[in-house]
Symmetry: C5
Subunit: 366 residues, 5 copies
């Protein structure tokens, strides 16, 4: 059920740490895209706002982003596509990003982490969603740069969980337009984490289905599904577990980029990451239990098969022996001439049959 095909809009979660070795031996800070190969031009969108104003535009040339670095408004630059490293490099140089940060942005095998570079904070994490199409979890690496008055987000491909944030900015809904860039960064992370719950619940449903199948009709495919789910949990956990540290690190940072009012929101998203991690552990425990039940139901089935064989064989083998005895061709076999010989054999047979039946009943095999 959980196939491993790379889709046009993301990679399956199981591949997210693959092909890291492509860069072995390269200079630290080398900008080399490691991830799914793509050819389309990256899409750059700018949303610029403050309490009263709001502008949104898509730009072709990355240099159009440069003025927003020092604007007094909150500026959100979103890049969909990181495979054209020269764009990342230009942007990174203007915004003063460390070469190692740029390297990590274009290298899609990062473990979720938070790094504080004084004048900006770098956060990298995995955006996940459940693709119903091929019943698998898709993953995309998202890098977020939080600077003074700006947020830059880098995604591998178009399509994300940020639309609700965009809507709230556009419609001036809630507090987002009255808060700073740090709140925007929080809102983006929150929307990514919220989406994890959907995956978690989808897996919850699949596990429930597995449990039902287990009772109704366990078969080797059930086992394969248990194993697949276990693996999904292992990979999911790799994306979620480090997130706790990431958000905890943001809460405890002494960076001037964060306003005090934002910390309570970070605490809220931190709660969510803990809830998700715990649910993953719960699912792992339940899957272990399901495996135990499966293995034991296989044993029980075997028991039933063996009982059937044993009952039939144990009843008929002695009867067949008896019939064999009177099928012998010895000249002198007195019983053969008796009038009641043949009925007597039937009576013996029925007696043996019945006593065996009672015996198996008593042993609870029938």
């Amino acid at each position: 059920m959980y196939e491993d095909k790379n889709q046009h809009w993301g990679v399956t979660i199981r591949n997210i740490t693959n092909r890291v070795s492509r860069k072995a031996g390269m200079m630290p800070g080398s900008l080399v895209h490691v991830g799914e190969k793509r050819t389309e031009k990256p899409k750059i969108t700018i949303i610029d706002y403050d309490r009263t104003n709001y502008h949104e535009k898509t730009v072709d040339d990355v240099e159009e982003c440069f003025p927003f670095k020092d604007s007094s408004t909150v500026s959100w630059i979103n890049i969909d596509g990181i495979h054209q490293v020269d764009i990342i490099e230009k942007l990174g140089k203007h915004f003063g990003l460390h070469p190692l940060v740029m390297e990590d942005i274009v290298h899609t095998s990062q473990r979720p982490k938070m790094e504080d570079y004084d004048h900006y904070i770098y956060v990298v994490l995995k955006m996940l969603w459940f693709s119903e199409e091929d019943a698998d979890v898709k993953a995309e690496q998202v890098s977020i740069i939080l600077g003074k008055g700006f947020v830059i987000s880098f995604q591998e491909i178009e399509g994300d969980t940020f639309n609700s944030v965009r809507e709230r900015i556009r419609n001036s809904k809630g507090r987002i337009r009255t808060m700073g860039a740090d709140y925007l960064a929080y809102a983006l992370i929150d929307s990514i984490v919220d989406n994890y719950f959907i995956i978690i619940e989808r897996f919850g449903d699949i596990i429930e289905e597995l449990e039902n199948k287990l009772i109704d009709d366990p078969n080797p495919e059930t086992l394969q599904s248990i194993h697949d789910m276990k693996k999904e949990m292992i990979y999911l956990r790799k994306s979620v577990w480090p997130l706790r540290e990431v958000i905890n690190g943001m809460e405890r940072t002494e960076s001037a980029l964060f306003q005090d009012t934002t910390f309570v929101f970070l605490k809220d998203v931190y709660d969510h990451t803990i809830q998700i991690s715990e649910t993953i552990e719960t699912y792992r425990d339940i899957l272990s239990g399901i495996l135990d039940v499966y293995l034991s139901s296989v044993s029980n089935k075997m028991n039933e098969v063996m009982k059937t064989l044993t009952i039939i064989a144990t009843i008929f083998i002695p009867l067949t022996f008896l019939a064999g005895m009177y099928g012998m061709n010895f000249s002198y076999m007195p019983e053969l001439g008796w009038k009641w010989g043949y009925p007597a054999v039937w009576i013996i047979n029925i007696t043996i049959f019945l006593s065996m039946y009672i015996y198996f009943r008593k042993k609870n095999w029938l």
Copy 2:
């Protein structure tokens, strides 16, 4: 035995973290009720007391609670029903609750936690009880706001473990009337935790029954029960484990809302949460052991079945072969003409039978 139906007065413990995703993409602090759908009007009760006075009333309009915020007495406002979010919102605004707190109150998937907002403390935990009706644990989220001179408790539905506290206030029994709001908050938490012991003991009885069944008559349903109990333990643990931190956090808080004399009582309830957690771990260990015994008893049964088959087959197959030999129709078979041929076959049969019997006796198969 442990079915999964939602009852009119609570949800089964296994559902308490479900349907979180309903809120994905919403603004942080959005008041959306996540939990069992209900239509009845929430019930608001106020108990107001000090050393000498005592008033109790049920109010229709939430605004009737507002004066109690600054009364010098201890005021306990209890809300049964959190599905009407406008009531929560009005109350929350008057009492100065943070939007994220209000969001958590109406969102019934919270992990137990304690948050200190300086002028009030927010505690959320699970009230559990064992429903004998459908032999399952029911859970309800309880939020407690402890402010200066007041406690607000939010429950999902009517019916709780607080009656003993109410009685003690009414009858001025014990020290409760002489203590502050912090002691009241403690008393509520203590009554919830005391109830956990009942569940724990009920599970203890079920596990003991399982062990007895294991010896008397293990069958596939036993396995299913073991698996179900294991799962109950996993979910129970999710409710109890974080409670240790919650109460520990209250003990260590430097909030002015707590009087020194209350800490020793918090320590007492902390002891209880540790006892409960340890018992859950103990039960998990014992259930693992029960599973091992079950699996091995299945193997032992199989062994017994196979032995029966093997003994019967091993004795009669050679005898049948011999009978078959003398059933052949060759013209020249000298034995057939012998007078003692037929009795000789019987003697050989009995000899084989007896030596096999002795052999199996020696091998301890009989």
Copy 3:
């Protein structure tokens, strides 16, 4: 082997955390005896001593203990029987014990713990002994109050491990008469912990027996014994594990009730608790290994059974088939007329038999 009867002088270790729920809903600090029901009058003994003087008496009225609170000598009040809560209450009130401490003293489900109430220290732990009579571990809750110049010990029933301490006081043996009440409290705890070693060694012997049985004659009862021992270890661990913290807490306390010279003795008993805990873990590991060996020996036995069946069946089934062929009654069966037909069948039979035998020999099945 490990039966579950309550004896007249203690309860089996497995019951020590049971029936806690009896108190759910009660006022904190309610004095309710939770434990084995008893009717006899509690026995109160006072031992009062200093370097030169020594008095010992049994009193009927608890008020006779009161003068010893402020005597300059070391006074040890021992109460055997905590079911008469009024006695505990009177004593507790005079000696200034907190209601929660009194509650814990009469509630026999306490997890071992140490609490520092400035003018006294409260320690609760489990006294264990191995009852050879019914081959089970018995447990009794012991509470120790260490105050300035006095020690009060509460036991559930008469009979304890303190006789050696009493002897040393009576005979002025060793340093006990020259030291304070803190050393007396240490000496009591040390005598309880020393007794744990006896249980540990008794279990060591039982485990060794189990291992021997495993090799000589494994059977389903062996499995039940392994499971029982595993459970004993789980319960034993619950009594011993928290003791580490208890004694560590006493070592690190800054209470004026302890003299500097006593700490090195506490360190010694701390070493013992670690040794005991480690041995319990060792036994758990070994029991897991024993279970593995047991399960695998069951599989090996099955293998042997199946081989026997397979060898017999595989040899005789083809032979029986051949005999059956020449037992057919076709009119035209040329072999039947041959003179050497019948001996030929025997030769074929013996050939098949021998080649099968060689084949199984090669396969190492014989």
Copy 4:
């Protein structure tokens, strides 16, 4: 597949902690080579550079290295071959290395570690590579001495992962020529860690192959391969796990040998060690799952075998019994004379056959 031969250019990873005992009883600081025996002369190479100058030479006499100790340029002395301990000793004495450091350099069983000796830092770790030739991981101990203005690296044999670093120095590529000796030390460690990713990915491929085999055609060799991979993971982990502490120690050191700008690079390589460790844990988890699937597929196969036997035996044994009955030679067997007796037996046979067939269908055995 993973054989254990020592190759001419390294030892298999499983041997890296062997033969430590050779030194038992020797004086601490004794220079005794513990590792693969070799006879060729060690090769000493010096690369000396600063922002503008660059020299590279191979020297025959270790004393030619001495002047570089105090040169103002960055000097990298690389020794291939540590079996000639007198060379190590001469060099160590001139550069002021502690005897215990020299001992560790020539003793190839070191656990990765970092030691700060004020005027130099000693780092020892394992250089690993995957030998496609014999499908096994090869390991070599690399010691790095970082002093003021110099780096000394000791390898067991020629051939390493440092070529990319050499190229960057030669071609003045990147920042390496502008940075100090500390950056050079970092670059060497980074090139070693980068190589771990290649091994990790190779193992990822092997595990994927194993999973495919598991579905297509599981056999005892699959089991052996799972066990082998598990062991590889255990040994790999022993090389990688301590590396986290090593690099963390370098990051946190207060040594004057490190410039501030280097720490961000150490943080980057630290990320890599965490990623590698986590992937190893992931692989271990997956291998456990694979083992479960394998074991259960063996059980399933057995089930299928037993079902086949049971179906055949259960159908034909009663039929054979019936045939045996009418093969008896009693004089008085009325059915034998009936005209429709023989067809009736066939009809009974077919009826039994069909009802058995339907029965097994219903039981889902067919």
Copy 5:
């Protein structure tokens, strides 16, 4: 292979925590020898040295050791035999040892530990060696007292790992004659730890043999050996694990008894204890894997047995049935009269045989 006999020169490692209970109820600080009973007189040896002088003598009377307490040279007093407690008591009193220290010296069940008594340091650990004679690990408790200018070592029996230290002192080899008593204490511990590597490697060889047996010819004895090795690991670990803390405690002590130059040597022996602990964990993991392979190879064998039976039975049972049909004695059985009836049965038999053969081939059972 791993028998449990006590030898004349030590006890098997598995017994080292036994018979602790002998002392239950005794006064703390009671000098009672707990260990193997012995009668010979303890042997007391004194080695006294400084940079220029060296004396070695064996004394009969313990009082001859007393002058060395305050000599300005380094004095090493070694006692072989601790069963004569009066000797220990005299020595202990003169050198100012605490009664609890003396108690621990003669009580051979100590867990390795380090205690700082200001004017001396007490270290107790296990000296282990592999007895090839009865293929088992022998253990002996060694206590070391480090005071100002003296070291006292207590062993259970003659024979130890200290000869290399003695040689270095005698021959003035290395730095030992130029260093203080703290370095001597280190040298003794180092020689004990070095010996652990020999045991570790011996076990490594045994595990390798086990793995080979597993592939060549697994049998129930293999299982017993796995279980025995697992137990050896458990006991070995109990001796080695606490050693980490012991040496770490020595490194971090602020005692004036240690010179700064000694700490780097303690760090070296600390490295060794970590290496040994890790190898023990590695061996435990590998033994688990070996057990899995063993269990699964038993299942595989069973599968093979069952396949053999099933193939033979499934082929011949239908054939035998057919033969039985034509062995019936019905008067009217037209086939019996047919000329080609008998050959037809053979053709049917061969057809059934061949199609079964092809069927099993396809199923991969042949």
